[in-house]
Each structure stands twice: as structure tokens, then as C-alpha cells.
Amino acid sequence: MIPSSALTRELKFRDPEGARALASSLARNVAAIGRPVSLMHVCGSHEQAIARYGLRATFPRDLNVIMGPGCPVCITDTPEVDEAVVLARRGMRIVTYGDMLRVPGSSLSLADAQAAGARIEVVYGALQAVELARASPNEPLVFFATGFETTAVATAAVILDDPPPNFFVLSAHKYIPPVMEIVAEMPETRVEGFLAAGHAATITGYALFERFVERHRIPVVVAGFEPLDILAGLVQLVEFVREGRAEVRNCYPRCVTRDGNVRAQAKLWRVFRPIGGKWRGIAHVPNGNLRLRDQWAHLDARRRFPIDLASLWDNAPPELAQRCRCGDIMAGITSPSACTLFGTDCTPEAPVGACMVSTEGTCRIWHQYGGVPELRR
């Protein structure tokens, strides 16, 4: 629940005068650099706020703010969706987040499996999944767990809290820091600075980015999700770019500390270990996937149930999917408006690609907020 008082506090970070001052500071700094600058954020909530408040209309022309692979639903890879679909088609009870239902697998989505009679239920969190398992103790239940470290902590917490024996986890959790390394090295993106997600940093802390900055000589600024938080973060980033400084700066000090939530981190790493794996549309990301440690093998769906992915290969992939450009969009190489499917063949009602499915996907967000037309004054 959002109490009214908390809302009033947040409104301070939507103050028009403050926004104008930051926007002109942004313009001055980019003008001083004297060439186009590309910055990247890696968070659906940042894109939501940028689109919701129409911030791109206040950015200088030479500033390009790209959404990177920041939508956990979108980067869940096809074989991971397939694993859940196979289990569902074998009659297992699957619970997962609502956005996952329509994410395309190699030939079927969970929603397709559901329409054909599979048992798939939507939950709002890991705790609810455990409660459902507890309510029907004689029936195995698989929680298809997706999301970045923020939601992985919640999954870890229920695993550590003695779940019932019929509760199993199919983890497709992802870990953001390693993918920043991948994107930083992509020649097509030419990213000169990263805006890091404030909520993830409340858990990981911002010290985590210090090694990254040293290695890649690219500044990282941690920012919150109100319009002024984002503008202030961007101003700090372009100042770093202008001065040629590669540093970490915390622009969200009301929530984020240097070390983060140490207890949550301890829970996360007690349950999960990072392994390499493919992110949909991006690449193989070393240490980018979170899998259950051996200690928890007894509730790891992958180790408890045979999953025959080949059983799905007889179904042909949908034709439209071949024209989908979600991969390039998530890597920041292109934008939704450059995709021929966007808004016509691919809409939230009938999505083709994962980016149009999730409320955190770039395409879905652009569609919801009217795209990015030229609205600068």
C-alpha cells in the first residue's frame, strides 16, 4: 500500500522547477561535450519513468538514453520458457509471475500450454507460491522463478524458510552486473555511461560497481525512479563524460548505501550460485544466471524432473517471430519504432516478442506512453 503521506513525499521529486533546472544543466553539459553522447540504463522501471513523464522531450538532441537489457521477463531465454512449458505439458502444476505467461518459447508460450489444458497459475510473489504449495500438500508445485537479484532475494528467502516438500523451484533468475560488462564491450552500442537501478543497488550496494568502472573506464551512477532522480543521475553522468572521469556515484542516497543490504546478499548467495548462460537476444553472459546450489538440489525442478526439450521441436516457430527485433532493442542497437511489427502486428494484446509482453519491456512501455515522437519545445 502507498500511504498518502509517502506519496506526498515522492511528489517533491516531480517538481517542475527542479526538472527545468536539471534539464538545462543537462543541455549545457552535452553542448560542452560537443558531440552525441549515448548513455544506458538497465532497468524497466527507469524506462517506465522516462516514458511516463515524457523526459526524452527535455533531453538535448545529442543525448541518447538507451534502455539496455533491463527487463527480466524479456531476457528469460527461450530454452528456459521451454523447460516450464514441458513441465506444464507433462501435467505439473506451474506457478509464475503473470508477465511470463505470454513470453514466447521456441514454439509455445505458457499461455498456449494453458489454453491446451495445462495448469498454470499466476502469483504475485515467492511467498504466495509457497502458500499455494502448502494448501495442496499432495501435489507437486513448480515455481517458475524469474527476475533479477531483487526478486531472487525473495525466492532465496522462501527456500531458506523451510518450504513444504512438494514445493520446487525452476530458477530463471538473472544477475545484472555481469551483463553490463557485455554491453560495455559491444562495439555497436558505444555506451559512455551507465545509470544503475536504485532498487537493485539497495541490495547489492554501489561498491559493487567500483571494479567495473576500473576495468571499463565507464562511469556508473546509481539513480532512483522519480523524474528528478533520473534527471539528476543523467546530469552527473554527462558531467563525468565531459570531464573524462570514470567514477561511481550514488545519486540515490535516501535508499542506497555503499555495502547494500548485507543480510539479503548473504541469503542470495547461500541459495544461488552464478553460472554462465544465454540471455535472450543478448549473448552468453558469464555469471549472468542464478541457479540453485547443490545443497538445495532436492527442490530444484531441473534435477528432480526429466525435462525433454526436444519434445517441443516438432512445432514450427511462428512466422512473425522471425521479424521480431527484441534482441537488438534490448542490446540498445535499435529502437522499437525501427521495428516493422511495432504497434501493428505486435501489440500488448497480441505480442510477438517478449519486449511487448512485459510491463517492463521497452516496446510495451513505448506503446503505452505514445512512443517517442519529436515533442521538444
Binding site: 506519496l7 517542475p16 499466476v122 504475485y124
Partner: protein, 341 residues
């Protein structure tokens, strides 16, 4: 473009683009014969026939709200208000009378029916709109969900106001806070324990509209009630039909704190949420103050505000100035869905 939908989905009744497309494809084609006045092809809030030097306005509406009782009203009050308000949006704010047809599910409680009838009577009295004829049908258990109430209203007026009359320079006025009805119904439907009172605004607003028309006269150029699809759909329809662009100043939207908080929690834009006791009007700039004062003098118009202006650029689009930036306001495609993750 995509092919036609084979089956009717909930989005086809949600008041947005999908519904308008369906009506155009199915009904407007069939009944496109022009009349002397406002007909189906105009897709306005009602129809209008020229009768001598006056206009006879007629409109109809079926009501199926779930839950039937919600904070601030019920399906009975809604059934009267909806039709009275649609007449008013055509400039016909003095209804002659209403019809009422009900279809009831077998097993429906008599007590509940009486409660609904009482609130219909109260709303009809507020509106000065007598129910003059009706029809009653009962269908078997499970063949419908409780009750459907249809009302039709007729009224005379001297000048009709269209939803297509916006002109460049017109001020956009809303008669009060937005989103109250939809949020009240949604929070009741989903049993959300939200802080503060969320109360529907459902009310007949014909007296309020009369006050605005008396103060503004011809300077009131267009009207529409922002029901399903919310203010966003109403503005899109008005802008498209009027061939103007509209710039909305978001910080000036009258919004109750509780509604703002609930909408933010649900991840829904208040501009996409239904209202049942509000109007959006186009008013010539020199009359805006006068109309605003008349609205604010009425108990149902105390929170009325000028929220935007019509421009020549970007015809058919709504530009939203958020105070910290600018974007296009998208029209709702399907139903407003509470955020799921």
C-alpha cells in the same frame, strides 16, 4: 494490419479503440443511412432529430457493473445517471423521460431488486427525469450474471452540442476530479485495502451542464462524458472528430489524493479510468472564466478546472505536458489491467 478478431473479447466493450472499431465494422456499416441531424455514423453520445426549430435528442445505455453495489452508488443509480448524462452531453439537459428495461437472472433476490429500484428512483428525482415506461424479462440461472438494466432517454433542446465541435484555441475544461468511479469499483472488485475513502462520482449532472450552458451559451463548443476508457478516450475522440490537437497540462488535472495513490499502486493511469459524474468540455477562451465560475458554483462542479488547450498542430493527438516533460497520451487499447508484477 491484423485481420478482424474472430471472437468478441472484453476489450471490445472497454470503451477504447477496440470497441470503436467493432462498432464501426459491424453496426455503422449496417445503419449508415444519413438522417437530418446526428445519427449512428456520427458515433456521438446520442442521436438528434430536427423537429421544427428544435432538436429531439435520444440516447440509450445498458448497465452491467460488477459489483452491483460499490462505494458511492449502485447499478440503479448508474443506470439513470448514464443516460441522463449522455443526453446532457448533446446539450439536452432537461430530460422529458426515461424508459427502463431490466433482464433479471432467475433466483435474484427481491430485496436487492428493491434496493436497486429505490436508488433509481432517487437518481431520477435528482435529475428531474421520470421513468415513463419499461420492460421486464427473467432468464434462467446462469444465463446472465444477476441483472442487466437498459435505460433510454429523450429530451428536447434548442441547440445541440457535439463532441466534434472543438476549435483551435478552445480551453479544455473538466467538471471535477477524475478516476473516482473506476477506482472505487476496482478496489471493491479486487478487495483492495486502500487507504482513504474511494467513492464513485456516479450522479446525474444535467443541472451542472445546464449551469455551464447558461453561462457559456454558444461558447461551449463540445462536450463528452469521460466514462469507459476515461478522460484519455474522450479527448482522443473529440480531437479526432474535431481535427484539432490537444495539449493537456497534467499537473492541473483535478485528482483526489486517494485516487492518485490507488492508481499508482495499481499501475493504472487515472486518465484511463471511468468517470460517471463528470463532463469534459471545449470552451472558447474568452468564456472560459465565466463557464468555470458557473461550474464551481454548483455542488457537483466545485473541483472544475481548465486542464488544456486546443491547437492546430498534431490533429487527433493528445500531448501530455507532465510538468517535467512531454509525451503523447496513448488511447487505451484493451481494459485497464491492474499491474501484475
Amino acid at each position: 494490419m491484423r485481420t478482424l478478431d474472430e471472437r468478441i473479447a472484453m476489450k471490445h466493450g472497454a470503451g477504447g479503440r477496440a470497441m470503436r472499431t467493432l462498432i464501426e465494422q459491424v453496426f455503422v456499416e449496417a445503419f449508415a443511412a444519413p438522417i437530418d441531424g446526428v445519427g449512428l455514423a456520427d458515433m456521438d453520445d446520442g442521436a438528434a432529430f430536427r423537429v421544427g426549430d428544435r432538436w429531439l435528442v435520444i440516447t440509450t445505455d445498458s448497465h452491467v457493473v460488477m459489483p452491483r453495489f460499490f462505494p458511492g452508488g449502485d447499478i440503479g443509480r448508474l443506470a439513470i445517471s448514464g443516460t441522463v448524462n449522455d443526453l446532457s452531453m448533446m446539450g439536452a439537459a432537461e430530460p422529458l423521460g426515461l424508459t427502463c428495461a431490466v433482464v433479471i437472472e432467475e433466483g435474484f433476490s427481491r430485496e436487492e431488486l428493491l434496493t436497486i429500484e429505490r436508488s433509481m428512483r432517487d437518481a431520477a428525482r435528482e435529475a428531474g427525469a421520470p421513468v415513463v415506461t419499461g420492460d421486464t424479462k427473467v432468464m434462467g440461472r446462469g444465463e446472465l450474471d444477476g441483472i442487466i438494466i437498459n435505460t433510454t432517454g429523450v429530451a428536447f433542446c434548442d441547440r445541440i452540442v457535439r463532441d466534434s465541435g472543438l476549435r483551435e484555441g478552445d480551453r479544455i475544461v473538466v467538471t471535477g476530479t477524475i478516476g473516482d468511479h473506476g477506482i472505487a469499483v476496482m478496489s471493491k472488485r479486487n478487495d483492495l485495502a486502500l487507504e482513504g475513502d474511494l467513492v464513485s462520482d456516479v450522479a446525474p449532472i444535467n443541472a451542472l451542464v445546464r449551469a455551464a450552458l447558461a453561462a457559456g451559451g454558444d461558447a461551449v463548443t463540445a462536450m463528452k462524458d469521460p466514462t469507459r476508457g476515461g478522460l484519455a478516450s474522450a479527448l482522443h475522440e473529440m480531437a479526432q472528430k474535431s481535427k484539432v490537437g490537444v495539449v493537456i497540462d497534467e499537473p492541473r488535472l483535478p485528482l483526489r489524493t486517494e485516487v492518485r495513490a490507488a492508481a499508482e499502486l495499481l499501475g493504472i493511469d487515472p486518465m484511463h479510468i471511468a468517470n460517471e459524474g463528470k463532463a469534459v468540455m471545449g470552451v472558447r477562451p474568452d468564456a472560459a472564466d465565466r463557464v468555470l465560475a458557473a461550474l464551481r458554483a454548483h455542488p457537483l462542479g466545485r473541483d472544475a478546472a481548465v486542464i488544456g488547450v486546443c491547437v492546430a498542430e498534431r490533429t487527433g493527438s493528445i500531448v501530455l505536458d507532465t510538468g517535467v516533460g512531454r509525451r503523447l497520451l496513448a488511447e487505451l487499447d484493451g481494459e485497464p489491467m491492474p499491474r501484475i508484477c
